[in-house]
Subunit: 511 residues, 2 copies
């Protein structure tokens, strides 16, 4: 029996076993809900043990594949390990693993890309079938069986509620100082019994510090001592800094025009280097007393909390570089007063995002001249990562911004195109587009006006002539009676930039 002080429930101490033994509870065909959000709080050893079992089964000629449901992206130890052995039948809702991506785009693995706020309720509603097993990393187990969540919450509440069998990884590297940082809202109901979510500020606490789970459902516990993915961010480069600069200038302008309060509104920022650079920019900027209401708390937001620029941040996961993690651990009591970690059905809830009036800033793959945004597909057919929470935020935000460098692949690709090759955010949801070239404010503009602003403010000069020419010819085509002037397009040419890239490795013909 384990003497691990992190497992205080006597009955559950009896359930401690090896990862191999625990993984054996998972069967071919199971739907498995795993913890993990942006490389934080994912199970670290059971998926690998499961992958070994799958590999053995496959070698023995037995088909063994499961459905993997998570919070969002995880790490090589989970998505990577399972995808490598072909063990994932279907994956949802967001992934960023190179092997997963390769398998999905090779047609060897199904992927369902849904809004992060929809996942939990689709499971409650029974829309995705039965959840068989939950595999959840926690920081510890109290004597009464309540669970101290780890560095992400994600869909863990739902997995623990809905699964027939629960397997826990108790990771002693997850700091015990996390205890008290979480806010697990247990007030959700199914329609028609839903009530207003009683939150009016990003820092409001409306739930419990702990996750609940019927101990009788817990079939196995595995002890680990392993770090999260803790990806290092590249320091903000000139490209990111220019994007950040345009956003700062815009926010200052909005404050000046009285369209934003001086302390702005709660900030949401997508994952990645550009988002991080924007936050670094804000940390140097003129705004004080800021708040965050976001999915993932990255280095940039942590810095703002540390500097006092930001007074409170809400998220569903931490995703920190090793250096930031060191600071977080050294000052965890300070941060516990300023960070609330929530289930993702709350961090991404339309009701809350709309009420708070979030300023939403998300990366994208490409935007078209009319302001339709592609967040998920390379050249219209290859999945990159998934929509994540960008739809939850953009649709309900006070301001919805999408940002990208204006070109990719050394200038072969324009991120401003005649027609998006896949649409994740429609013209109705995209207010502001930002590249290093500039910012296009699309509020109150009709499609042809949008096209002009997007091309002139955001497109790279190398692509502006071709974009202007496309619009001019599309308008002529429409005025000649072959199409409409509301959203002029040359349908035979609209996606030709993408198909030329697939054929020739560049969007425009050689000059």
């Amino acid at each position: 029996m384990s003497q691990n002080a992190r497992i205080a429930h006597p009955g559950l101490r009896q359930k401690v076993m090896s990862a191999e033994a625990a993984a054996a509870f998972i069967q071919h065909g199971d739907h498995v809900g795993m913890s993990g959000f942006t490389g934080a709080g994912y199970p670290k050893v059971i998926p690998q043990a499961l992958a070994r079992q799958i590999e053995r089964a496959n070698q023995g000629g037995n088909h063994f594949r499961i459905g993997v449901w998570t919070g969002a992206s995880t790490a090589p130890e989970l998505d990577g390990a399972l995808a490598k052995v072909g063990g994932i039948e279907m994956r949802l809702p967001y992934q960023s693993d190179p092997t997963c991506r390769e398998r999905i785009n090779a047609g060897q693995m199904d992927y369902i890309d849904i809004h992060l706020s929809h996942v939990a309720q689709f499971v409650w509603f029974g829309f995705l079938g039965k959840l068989n097993v939950a595999v959840v990393e926690v920081a510890g187990i109290l004597e009464d069986g309540r669970l101290i969540p780890a560095s992400s919450v994600g869909n863990n509440k739902t997995w623990l509620d809905q699964a027939d069998k629960v397997i826990l990884e108790v990771n002693s590297m997850q700091p015990l100082g996390l205890e008290g940082m979480h806010d697990i809202y247990y007030g959700t109901e199914l329609p028609p019994n839903r009530k207003p979510i009683p939150m009016t500020g990003p820092g409001d606490r409306i739930g419990d510090n702990y996750l609940r789970c019927d101990p009788a459902k817990i079939v196995a516990i595995v002890e680990t001592h392993l770090p999260d993915r803790n990806t290092t961010f590249t320091p903000p480069d000139e490209m990111s800094q220019r994007i950040a600069g345009h956003i700062l200038e815009f926010l200052e302008h909005e404050v000046k025009k009285d369209r934003l309060p001086r302390e702005l509104l709660p900030l949401q920022s997508g994952v990645g280097n550009i988002a991080n650079a924007v936050l670094s920019g804000l940390n140097q900027g003129p705004f004080d007393n800021l708040t965050g209401y976001t999915e993932v708390l990255q280095d940039g937001m942590l810095e703002m909390l540390r500097s006092g620029k930001m007074r409170m941040a809400s998220a569903t996961a931490l995703s920190l570089s090793p250096a930031a993690m060191e600071d977080f651990l050294a000052n965890i009591d300070f941060y516990r007063q300023r960070i609330v970690l929530r289930p993702q059905e709350i961090s991404n809830h339309p009701e809350i995002i709309r009420r708070l009036g979030v300023i939403s800033m998300n990366g994208m793959i490409e935007a078209d001249i009319y302001g339709n945004v592609n967040s998920t597909h390379l050249m219209g057919t290859r999945i990159m990562n998934g929509i994540g929470g960008s739809g939850d935020f953009a649709r309900n935000a006070y301001l919805s911004m999408f940002m990208t460098p204006s070109t990719a692949k050394g200038g072969a690709i324009s991120c401003i195109v005649p027609m998006a090759s896949h649409v994740d955010h429609t013209e109705h949801d995209v207010q502001i587009i930002v590249t290093e070239q500039g910012l296009a404010d699309l509020r109150g503009l009709a499609p042809r006006q949008r096209a002009s602003v997007v091309i002139e403010h955001c497109a790279h000069p190398d692509f502006q002539p071709a974009l202007r020419d496309y619009v001019a010819r599309a308008e002529r085509h429409a005025l000649n009676g072959f199409a409409g002037m509301h959203t002029p397009h040359l349908l035979d040419e609209a996606l030709s930039w993408h198909s030329r890239y697939e054929r020739e490795g560049r969007m425009l013909p050689k000059a």
Copy 2:
């Protein structure tokens, strides 16, 4: 001074004047917020008087154009009259007028297509500029200046709040029995001061029966006695009945599977004959004690209230045929107990739609094989009407359905296409697609699975072979390494059905 009993405020009686005199308060360049939602409660004489003034100005060589903001679609007396004289510079948010549409698609008029729930708040936020004049139809004015709303609420609360000058049409044909049917919520705030909207059921009353307006802002009142548009519905044809049949069967199946309560969840239904047929079907169906939470209350829902199948309906507007209107007037006390008319920022609010778990049923122009839906653009370039509230409902609904006949223009057009020529509802927001051919339940399916279900269940047999062939070739193209297998497409061909239609008048080549 008017002796009109409907104008009980003594000071305001002094402001009664002719439509011509009232219209003279509107200047070139003004943003004018007009009442009106789906042909109900729109001003009936001032827009026409204004159109005459615009025509005279134009003849005199003076440019005279205004921005027209409404609730949603109006009628020939408003959109038609102003569009005919070229008087509209910019129109938002939803229109269905043939002259408007023609002018927009000819590039003579700008149109901004935004979610109906966004309109009011964009004006509060200052995103659309200053609202100069409000022109609002009401049923009457109380002695203390409060206004009895007419047959639609729409954005009237916002127009009256935000405009510098207010002009009222007091229409004595609007039944006084409407008094008490409205629920005008005055609890909205700007972020960061927003509170939960205290509504948990479709019939909850959370506001006032009257609209408020500072009498000092009211510059003119015009007396009218004119009916609403009151469009006649065609009786449900076989096509609509088959679509309705598939939906009923599906709902019964969901109840059987315990994924829906026996009394279902609040119904939202788009505007038009198919929607009306679905409601007629439900009126004959096995479900009782139903509720409605919708934008527009049409004949079908009125019948359900009358029959007792539905116990309560919430909307922002009535849109009744002359026959249904007669029944409504004859039984207005009965209906007042069962209908709540709200501002459209509440009828379409994501917070409420998500909380109530609405069953959303909207028409569309086309869907593609992967479940992306086009609600607005013919052949990708010509605006039809606009997105209306379909996005507000689909994204936040418990179940989001889109329906259309499988073909249009006598079979020349397939409403199931390889790639939607415009995307208003992304794959992430579309759960169920219905045509007269059948119903595709896309929940929990990955893109290639969706394609198969959409083609086999929804496409017309005349187009199935070409769609299957497209998918097969797109998959081969992907497997040969030229594209991804997540969402296989042939980019050079994806929009060829639409461009062939523009050239040859049919989507497929002659056999």
